[in-house]
Amino acid sequence: MLNRPATDTQITHLQRLWLYVLGLLVVAFLVLPVLIVVPMSFNDSRFMSFPPKAFSLRWYQNFVTSPEWLEAIWVSIRAAVLTMLIATPFGVATAYGLSKSGSRWSGIIMMAVISPLIVPVILVAIGLFYLYARLGMVNSMVGIVLAHVVLATPFVIITVSSALSHVDAGLERAARNLGAGPLRAFVNVTLPQIRTGVMSGALFAFVTSLDEVVISSFISGGENTTLTKKMFSGLRDQVDPTIAAVSSILIVLSIVILLGVTLYDRRRGAGT
């Protein structure tokens, strides 16, 4: 097996064993530090030292009995759901509208609505902080959600635009010719074809809001403190080991999402 050629140019698998080892090491570098947090979260020691001295559930117990942590996670989930519910239609409308409009302005508008991906986030954070301070919107759910919608919409626009580029525009025109109104033609003909793009855009929007740290650390607080703000200040000031429990829960959540997306992609890939 190892002596068989790996490529058409006659290199055998054995000759490039070093490449396989190197590749695996890189994957290990990416994956292991993330996975190691889960067993460490059962460590009894405050300092998460290795090897663990004793097994304990105390950090999980801290988490589920702390009103502050539970409130923070609840704020983050509400913000993420609201962000997804607003950013998804905004992004779909933008991607669809700009793909249909032949106007010379659409390129410029596209650059403008994608720009939140490019502008350094710290600049957005202090700018928003100043704006919200004037409007009395600091520490408000509305403020957090609007900021996250601006950050998340570009991801929806990108995934939906890429899905739209594979859609045959003639089908929608045919629907219009057969008497469907513009909305009905979109909902019945185009939307089903870009469903996957919309769904992954929505997922991106949800995760963007859930993960956002820098802006939240400026504009969220009080009863609307997000989970990321609480974790960030916890990690910066004195490390509260409850974060290990919270992190493990989030890691398991990411693995579930990742496996879900991968399996969905593969099933769809096999179906076509």
């Binding site: 058409d8 140019t9 290199i11 190197l22 590749g23 890189v26 994957v27 570098f29 990416l30 994956v31 530090p33 993330v34 190691i36 300092f47 998460m48 030292s49 905004f90 409308a93 933008t94 509208g97 700009l98 249909k100 106007s103 659409s106 508008i109 403008a112 609505v113 994608i114 720009s115 490019i118 350094p120 986030v121 710290i122 600049l123 957005v124 954070a125 202090i126 700018g127 928003l128 100043y130 704006l131 919608v149 601006v150 919409t153 570009p154 991801f155 990108i158 859930l210 740290v213 820098v214 990321t228 960030f232 990690l235 974060i243 290990a244 989030l250 890691i251 990411s254 693995i255 990742l258």
Partner: protein, 302 residues
């Protein structure tokens, strides 16, 4: 049939009422379609362009007057060292990302679909994991009594724990971990587009595998390498969370200084000026990046 008349035969020549009406309808449709983007555009204008434009204006004001004092301050040694530190870390992370991403992306572009999908899960796991969780993971792994130091001492490679965190080393490792998927994904998509028959041709003409790789494959992969490297570099320049948590106060990158100026010293002019410098460098690099790749396709996650 003369222009300007419609003789009822169903054909309307150029310039007839029909074509003009048609053009008007098309223009209106085009505008209506474009208007679908206005809600998103309005949000960006109010929440990004407005505040950033305001910061730009503020950077030219000192003591209530127009002044370049905020920019002159950038030449002071304290600021110069911030710029050098930011660039040093960003260059280091970029170089390491290229070196580590290339072999993995190369493998993924050539192995079977199942193996590639498995490796892709490995690449995407950190991508989908919260930034704070990953940073915390590195704090745990790299600390004095963390797994790396304990294993190194157990193997008698080192006698005393190494200082791996709360310094440049920790920051670089943490940032590399965040940026590596951003290097692997564009590189992989560019490597997949390389036509391997060129390699067969090179080998038919007597090139050794190594020579074929360096003279044929590698140059073809360079646009992907540059695109990924610029993307990684430019994102590194704006890093805030990782150096804040893994730098232990010793690593002051541009974003951290901006935050300190605004939130600690309430010196909005200084914060804005530094922000404007960061923004200008970022936009400039994205313009260069635009020559190598479609920018919006690089954030697509695929």
């Amino acid at each position: 049939m003369s222009a300007g008349t419609n003789d009822g035969l169903g054909y309307a020549g150029p310039g007839t009422d029909n074509t003009r009406a048609q053009a008007r309808i098309e223009r209106r449709d085009s505008f209506v379609s474009m208007a679908l983007s206005f809600p998103a555009l309005l949000l960006v204008v109010v929440l990004i362009f407005g505040p950033v434009g305001w910061l730009l204006g503020l950077s030219f004001v000192d003591d209530g007057h127009f002044s370049l004092a905020n920019y002159q301050r950038m030449l002071a040694p304290a600021y110069v060292s911030i710029f050098t530190q930011t660039f040093q870390i960003s260059i280091m992370v970029t170089v390491l990302a290229v070196v580590l991403a290339y072999p993995l992306a190369y493998l993924m572009s050539q192995c079977s679909r199942t193996v590639a999908a498995l490796l892709m899960i490995g690449v995407m796991l950190p991508f989908w994991t919260s930034l704070l969780v990953r940073t915390y993971a590195w704090m745990v792994v790299l600390q004095r009594r963390g797994i790396i130091n304990e294993v190194l001492q157990w193997l008698h490679i080192t006698d005393a724990p190494l200082r791996l965190v709360n310094n440049m080393t920790g920051t670089t490792i943490g940032m590399l971990h965040v940026m590596l998927p951003f290097m692997i994904l564009p590189l992989l998509s560019s490597l997949r587009q390389i036509d391997l028959t060129y390699m067969n041709a090179a080998s038919n003409m007597g090139a050794s595998p190594l020579r074929a790789f360096w003279t044929v494959y590698f140059p073809l992969s360079l646009p992907g390498v540059f695109a990924g490297a610029i993307l990684v570099f430019v994102m590194c320049l704006g890093f805030y969370v990782t150096p804040q948590l893994l730098g232990g106060g010793k690593v002051i990158m541009m974003s951290i200084k901006i935050q300190q100026n605004a939130a600690l010293y309430f010196n909005w002019g200084a914060a804005s000026a530094l922000g404007v410098v960061l923004l200008v460098i970022t936009l400039g690099l994205f313009v260069i990046l635009g020559r190598f790749a479609r920018v919006e396709s690089m954030f697509g996650g695929k």
